[in-house]
Symmetry: C2
Subunit: 358 residues, 2 copies
């Protein structure tokens, strides 16, 4: 049985393409009363990007704080705020930010047309109704959230995505100018998400010619961005943006692996953001992903990045146990990495050993 | 101004994936009376593939002859046949064949919901109504027709595609098993369409980081298929299928160039099929695409392929003139290849000179 891979049907790419957003949106305005809701990372309040958001008529911005990983209760609260507004259900939801904001936008779009808490929809194809038209505009590159079928959320019981054919954006706007101002460390952590996607995609049983082709090219771009001394920042931003796009498509056609499973545990229990959690885990996975981890170390040194180390010190047994349960439960990732008999290779004890290295 | 690139939103890929078509279609059956129309290359009549087509209820096959390049009057006639059938407008149109069949399926889908002759819609975004749900299933790889926004048609006045956001397939099924039986020469000519797409995409002003990334990877796959001695036929079929897919996406984000412009003239006037017309033209374009043409010559020799030569002998002045007018009129291709001031580099005389080499 092969899976149908749903990807984003429309893409606008190019430096400055964000400036076309206003015109694009007008075509989507159903009538004079219909409005657009922009979910925007609150770090952009009073920043140049705020002024460029093309608000017209009753359109409005909801500033979203993403100091913590996306949570189901936040999705529910944004959804309720929109539904209870006098404008009602908008003609489109537009997410402007990093992976967390993009995941919020995808989840809110779906939850505007599906009843109950978003925590009920954590899993595969649980939403029954098509969401509101939604547009993704990344301001950080690497997560692949702009093309993925998943809105990753932490709920009361688990960190697991709302995944299905209604989740992907209807349109993405990839404007490399928007990632120019990202802080250095954050840019690196997020960029490494793409690097790690490719390593994991290429090393597992769900690999196929399409996922491999995307991963090879995405990885080549990522290596240019982080290992080539002669690349301009402008070129690097374009390449990082496309690396993220291709890395996300590669994962869509394949699966993530050991690093993401461990990273989910770190985020769930210690609330590390996804990018940095990946880096903390990948940093210690030379036994699994050998040369790719050594190259990662080179990139870290070259860009003088701080990867937190020693985070397991002082954790309680209960915390280790909870992280291990979270990671162990992601059986699709382990299956990809170790094969159908993955349980012979991985146990909660083994997972705790990995965490103790970090 | 950047263009929105519409691509195929859903893809099913894998050896044997065609066998899942029946189940996929049932989800699309609107009610007991709704039916599916399969447009199938008539070379598959009484061949194994015919038995694998999942006909149920009132579903039926229209066998389509593609000895000649797709014509607008054939599109109109298939459309009328379907509309006048007792089943009426189908729930889906499924094209099974090479690029010509895929283009017919795309065009028929659009023409079932837009009035008048398809020749009225040759151009960009001329169709106003969304077409019938349509699925593309290639049995030859290289054209990129499975992902393109264009259904290339020859009409009474010109060879030009119906291009727009309603043209791309809603779903493609990429099953490498289906290209296994393609005749050697045809497989090569069609495969070279992808090779040439990549060369043209990479050499022109509309190149960007996405089109380039697709072209680089597509080209690497194509070179493995046609230059690597140690590849199995099974691997080669997978790679050729993905090369075609990526090559088509590359062109979608960029543009074709000199070879395609000349090739359109050959097809319009002499009715050469697109793949072989490309090969005839590319064979003589070392002055434009240097090393890529020399590698093409190596592939031709290695696979002992016949590329027609001397086709311009015996042509009338009028035929040359008509070919040159067709080619010269494709200004977007020339603009891509030579820049905004392309008309300084290209004239009808120059085009006729190229044709005289062939």
């Amino acid at each position: 049985m092969f899976r149908i891979i749903k990807s984003v049907p429309k893409c606008l790419f190019g430096k400055g393409s964000f400036n076309q957003l206003g015109d694009l949106l007008e075509e989507k305005r159903i009538n004079d009363d219909s409005c657009f809701v922009f979910l925007v990372d609150d770090c952009f309040k009073n920043k140049p990007i705020e002024k460029k958001i093309p608000l017209k008529r009753a359109d409005y911005i909801i500033w979203v704080n993403v100091d913590n990983e996306p949570k189901t209760f936040v999705v529910d609260s944004i959804r309720d705020q929109i539904k209870n507004s006098k404008e009602g259900i908008p003609a489109a939801v537009i997410g402007i930010g990093g992976g967390s904001i993009l995941d919020y936008a995808k989840a809110v779009s779906v939850m505007l047309t599906n009843n109950g808490s978003s925590s009920l929809y954590q899993g595969l194809n649980l939403a029954k109704n098509q969401g509101v038209y939604h547009i993704g505009i990344p301001t950080l590159s690497g997560t692949g959230a702009e093309v993925s079928m998943t809105a990753v959320l932490t709920g009361p019981e688990k960190k697991l995505g709302i995944k299905g054919e209604f989740t992907p954006f209807d349109l993405i706007v990839l404007d490399p100018e928007l990632i120019y101002d990202a802080p250095k460390n954050q840019r690196f952590y997020t960029g490494m998400d793409s690097y790690i996607h490719n390593v994991e995609s290429l090393n597992g049983i769900y690999k196929n010619c399409i996922s491999e082709s995307y991963a090879i090219q995405s990885q080549a771009l990522c290596r240019e961005v982080f290992l080539n001394d002669n690349i301009t920042r402008e070129e690097a931003d374009e390449k990082l943006m496309v690396s993220s796009y291709f890395g996300g498509l590669s994962i869509g056609h394949s699966e993530v692996g050991v690093c993401h499973a461990l990273s989910y545990g770190l985020s769930y229990v210690l609330d590390f953001h996804h990018g940095i959690a990946n880096c903390i885990a990948f940093n210690q996975l030379e036994d699994i992903y050998g040369p790719a981890v050594r190259d990662f170390h080179t990139m870290v040194e070259k860009h003088k990045i701080d990867i937190p180390f020693g985070i397991s010190k002082g954790l309680t047994l209960e915390q280790f146990e909870k992280m291990a349960i979270t990671a162990f439960g992601l059986d699709h990732m382990w299956r990809h990495a170790f094969g159908l008999d993955w349980a012979k290779h991985v146990s909660k004890e083994k997972i705790i050993d990995w965490y103790k290295r970090m």
